[in-house]
């Protein structure tokens, strides 16, 4: 992992240098047959301390970079570790097969589940094939078709979110990208089977929530979940795209923020230095979190589950109700503002 590598973020450079030193010594060990394991162990300790040091000071913008890290494991990388017997199913039965949205049936330990998720591409060719993880209406409709199969056969749904945004090109608009996202949220809100969503990387706005109206929403430590990309928000709101770092902070898009704001149920810790440093371990953490939540959800009768899902999303948002502070009048003419917050 040489430090000139474009897949190394600026703040990762000290880590990459230590990695490189360790790798060199390992190579020498092999070539020369000299035992230098103590030296390696010391360097590894240094490196891990460096990671901890660096990661304790990450800014929200650094989290954005991690969520979009070119080496970050993508949806199908997780699928390979978490599920067995994955049978990918294609198509929306209406128009096409969207390669930015994948899904199918699989087993998870003893369970049969339906899986759907956004898929980004690793190299340029695959990125284009996957439309950079930006699904069109066909993708959302494929996802809904598969979720309805899950409901028909009473199997839980697992969704993996990793998208910069839904596609907003002319043809996505022409086939109703708004309708497809709205319909998914509506139908997921009453789907008669447990749903768990995991935000793996980028939780990009409507593109993300279109498959994330779930009983449990889990979020990777270094994932982001945002109503708009910070760059876009800076450009629109402050008409100054260079302010994206400030905007990343203002929008509160990190996993800690989402947990605090009540938008996700749990943050899944990533391996030291981020999921890309140990994709297998990251996937195992996701797997055990899913299994733990599934066990809870399976005990709840379906109608109760669906009602709880409604209440969960119903209660999101922060506002104040000044009519509760004094006797209600039919016609409030000039409401008095009161400043204490109340959560609905």
């Amino acid at each position: 992992m040489p430090s000139k590598d474009w897949t190394v973020l600026d703040f990762e450079k000290p880590i990459a240098e230590l990695d490189e030193q360790i790798a060199q010594i390992r190579r020498l060990t092999q070539e020369q047959g000299i035992d230098r394991s103590e030296e390696i162990a010391a360097l590894e300790r240094d490196r891990d301390r460096a990671i901890e040091e660096i990661f304790s000071k990450l800014t929200p913008w650094d989290r954005v970079l991690l969520a979009r890290h070119p080496k970050r494991p993508y949806t199908l990388d997780y699928v390979r570790v978490i599920f067995d017997d994955y049978v990918e199913l294609h198509g929306d039965r209406l128009y096409g097969d969207d390669h930015a949205m994948v899904g199918g049936i699989a087993t998870l330990e003893n369970r049969h589940v339906v899986f759907v998720g956004q898929q980004k591409g690793r190299d340029l060719k695959e990125r284009q094939y996957r439309n950079f993880g930006m699904a069109k209406p066909d993708g959302y409709r494929k996802a809904l078709r598969l979720m309805k199969l899950a409901e028909k056969f009473r199997r839980p749904v697992i969704t993996f979110v990793d998208t910069p945004a839904a596609d907003c090109s002319v043809d996505a608009e022409a086939r109703g990208i708004s309708e497809s996202i709205a319909r998914n949220m509506m139908d997921m809100s009453i789907l008669g089977t447990p749903i768990i969503s995991v935000i793996l990387g980028e939780g990009g706005s409507g593109g993300a929530i279109g498959i994330a109206v779930a009983d449990r929403v889990l979020m990777m430590e270094n994932a982001i979940y945002s109503v708009i990309p910070p760059e876009g928000c800076a450009a629109i709101l402050w008409r100054d795209p260079s302010k994206y770092k400030e905007m990343a902070a203002a929008l509160r898009i990190t996993s800690a923020d989402a947990l605090e704001l009540g938008v996700v149920d749990e943050v899944i810790k990533e391996p030291l230095g981020g999921a890309h440093r140990s994709p297998e371990a990251a996937a195992q953490s996701v797997k055990s979190a899913i299994l733990r939540h599934l066990e809870e959800l399976e005990k709840i009768p379906i109608q109760k589950l669906v009602d709880a899902r409604y209440k969960k999303f119903r209660s999101m948002g922060v506002f104040e109700d000044i009519s509760k502070k004094k006797p209600h009048k039919e016609e409030l003419s000039e409401p008095e503002a009161q400043e204490d917050q109340c959560e609905a």
Binding site: C168, A172, S178, Y225, S226, E231, I236, M316, G317, F319
Partner: protein, 289 residues
């Protein structure tokens, strides 16, 4: 509040005055159409429901103006007027903007909900004003959800006029969640076999278009209204260059199967009444089952 009360109120009068200072020519009696440049007699324009008599341009309406031309006279009762916006993320400048738009509109936030009658049918009604770009934050979403919940419990149709630039960025992820919240509220209302009629007005985009605005049993739109997923500036960011001339208009959406009809403003109320008659009229096909 009632529509009459609003129009009589200080803010209502101010708002009318502000509008005239924008649209009207110096003498105040005449207004220049921003689309065809025709000089229109202001009183005639009001009588014509603020539609240019020459080119058909539909001026934007305030929430209260919309209510006034839509409901049976004197039947609107606002609900949930006490919900007010706070600044949950401590987002820079948010309070100042809210205060500015409160003064401008006389509203606590962009969404006004209430109970009314249209053509004698009791309905739940939602209308939007141009408050923070018509954007949906927590108060907006909460009002929509409460409207649908009240309508569900009282077995009422919902009629919704949308006008929005999308989710409100200043409330971050909480605004995104209003999309799920409103869609879920529509789901429960719909499962109760109750009708939901949407009228998309200029502009209806992004988070609002991609949630409750696209979920009507009946979806109508005003002519020429901007309607679409990507807000204009987001689309510009995404570098969308080659687009059809009518991209993201009501006409584009009709052509692509997303809306039922385009209705000139004068036809909206009569059509809503026909639809309410269809859905709620007494003659049923079968009392059995």
């Amino acid at each position: 509040m009632s529509a009459a009360a609003w129009f009589k109120s200080r803010v209502g009068a101010d708002r009318q005055a502000v509008r005239q200072s924008v649209d009207a020519l110096p003498d105040g009696l005449w207004t220049k159409c921003p689309k065809c440049n025709e000089i229109l007699f202001s009183k005639e324009l009001e009588k014509n429901l603020r539609v240019c008599s020459k080119c058909g341009y539909h001026y934007r309406l305030t929430a209260w103006e919309r209510i006034q031309i839509t409901v049976d006279e004197g039947t609107f009762k606002e609900i949930e007027a006490g919900l007010v916006t706070v600044n949950p993320l401590n987002f820079p400048d948010y309070e100042a903007k809210i205060e500015r738009d409160k003064l401008k509109t006389g509203l606590n936030d962009g969404m006004v909900v209430g109970l009314a009658e249209i053509g004698g049918h009791p309905v739940g009604l939602g209308v939007t004003d141009w408050f923070m770009g018509g954007s949906m934050g927590s108060v907006y979403g909460e009002k929509v959800a409460r409207l649908f919940e009240l309508a569900t419990s009282r077995k009422l149709p919902v009629v919704m006029f949308t006008m929005s630039g999308g989710a409100r960025m200043q409330e971050g992820i909480l605004s995104l969640m209003q999309m799920a919240k409103t869609a879920a509220a529509v789901a429960r209302h719909s499962k109760a076999h109750l009708p939901y009629i949407v009228v998309l007005t200029d502009p209806t985009t992004a988070g609002v278009h991609a949630s409750f605005a696209s979920l009507g049993d009946f979806i109508f739109a005003e002519p020429g209204a901007l309607i679409g997923f990507a807000g204009a500036r987001v689309a510009a960011q995404a570098g969308l260059i080659e687009r059809p001339a009518n991209f993201q208009t009501a006409e584009f959406q009709l052509e692509h199967g997303m809306i039922d009809r385009i209705l000139p403003r004068r036809e909206i109320k009569p059509t809503i009444i026909k639809v309410l008659d269809f859905c709620m009229g007494k003659e049923v096909t079968s009392d059995a089952e």
